[in-house]
Amino acid sequence: MQQEEEEQQQQQQQPQDQDDDLMIPLNVQSRLAEFTDRYFVKSFSEHQYVFQHSNRLYLSGINKNHPIVQSESNIKEIEFLQKEQQVKGKKKKGGLKVKSDTKMLKVHLENGETYEIVAGHDGYIIEMNENLQRNKQYLKQYPESKGFVCIIQGCRK
């Protein structure tokens, strides 16, 4: 996997951003397994993962070894433990501040088991995965892609 972090200082006259612009271009030569492999550096903990995008945003969720995924029972309900805060603007102000062990979701399986899922990385929540509200089983079927839990913006140094 070739991932490089780059920053750009563009002097465009369009009302565009002057911030970091990081791009991994499409390259037929280096076909990689999946969309997530192309853009992210993956790191796994026991049951969860944090994928770091080349633009330093973090995608967080549960991994294949999590009991929810391993269990034969389907998901009955997903409870969002934190209040959803709307982020505004390019600098994403107003996001909920979390630590890597802040509890984000409580998942109830049909067989009665419950599991808590933590944020996975320090920072501010940019987005919780809204698809989980409509398609609960994504968390179980596609934990490492469509069933991600949240996107976190790292703290500025």
Partner: protein, 571 residues
Amino acid sequence: MQLSESKAILFNKLYERDVCIRCILRIFKITEISTYRDTQQFIQLLFDVGKMIGNENKLVEEYDFLFYKRKAAIQECDVQPQTCHSSLKDQFIKNPFHTFDKINKCVICHGILQCLDDQKFIALLVDEIQQKQYSYEAFKFQVKTPIGCQIRQQIIVNQCISEIGQNDPIYEYISTPNFATDIKICVKWIMCCLLSESLKVPSDPNDDRFQICLNFENIGDDVKQFEQFKQKIQEIDDETWEEKITKKLKMNDPQLKAETHNRLLQKKNQQSQPFLPTQNNLEKICKLNKTQIQQFKIVNVNYAVKLEVTTSYQNIFIKGNYIKLGRFISQTPWIIDGNRIYEESIEDLVSSEACKIFKPSSVKFHSGGREDIDVRMLGNGRPFAIELVDPHQGLQNQSQEILNQIESQINSQHIVKVTPLSFTDASIFGDLKNSETNKVKAYCCVVECKNVVNVDLIQQANQIKDLIIKQKTPIRVLHRRTQMIRDKIIHSLQINQINDKWLLVYVLSSAGTYIKEFIHSDLDRTVPNLCSILQNECDIYQLDVIKLYEKIDENVIINFKSLNNECGSHI
């Protein structure tokens, strides 16, 4: 000039106070240009004034031929002020006016109107202008003068008039704030002729192309002159503010009155800022009436006047359409820490030849939208414009032949090509913006599916018309763009199968659609997407922008469906 006794008395007073003759003429609002230029006539004028006040030779005897005023002892210049407020600029490299530091300075203009005729000064100026190597056939002359001149003028006129002590209607006119001819106009009257003789081109105030600007500055002196007004102006400001607040609150309530009084005191106790020489503050001072002005004096400092000469030529715009035949070419140079990440950029390729010919100070690249680095731009091309800022050789090169030359030079490199170029003006920005937000675009991409494709679903997809998709800000740009949902329209799709897992997909969509995210769904943050339409997992490997259309209609869709033949792809 029509002399009357009261005018002559005032003339004499001003002359005694060391005001130069050109400034006195300004104060009397003489608008005949020859009076200012014909310095030989000054002696006759002094003679006439002397006659009127009963002592013919008095003024003439004291006349200083070099400097158009009464002879006076030369005062040494002070050292440069260190105490200027940091917001005031202090950037001078050359100072052609420096040769006049130690002269018999006029109290009002500090030498500006006295030294313009000097041959050496003109030679220095002309030299500096010619060194910049512009080509021009006329020039427009601009001048800026120190703001303190008006203050000094007002103070000294009022002092002289009150010393005379007579109530003459002429004195009433003369002492109104903006009665006198402005010092800038005077400089223009004198300089335009002299400069146009030396530069051998006419001076034309209506010709905006080439501008010469003389910027006289005397910041140290201005700061000192304005400082003394600070308290008085602040008092007046506070009074008007209190009045306004009173009216606003319609105060009859003593409690409210006490509250505002407290607020006022609070304001006063705040850190008070220096009273800077700005246009706003100048206007406030001009509103003071005669009695209020009387308490102020001309602060006698002797900082040197500085002159900065700047020249500029009107920007030239060139427009056209570009196509990008290669990948890994950024639109503008992408530099991090001094290193270029990608060797080539469209801006460089397109504007390098124009820069060599026109020699601008800088160049700006504008385009109607942009594409990613790894995406080619084909077909009729994307509209763009380059703005040549301050082109030194703009005059003779504005011809179609030059544009053709530039075009063939760009096209010969076979990386970026342009359509026939043309000159334009600032209105191009509206067109470019319009193109970015309104044009419908056709794309072609190579897509791989995880599972064998379902032919029926492909046929269904090809029937799609005006599908509305909702795109959340893609993760790859989420760090620098606002998090929001954007509604876009997929007008049409044309999917051709390459083999059982690979597809060639043509997409016709509204402006601003993220095509990559439409194909691979960006973790289902773009819905609906190609994965959901084909019930498969898709990923995109190559993307090209094929064509730009003005707007969507039936013909566009027909043309779009046959793009495969037009492009000549062989599957």
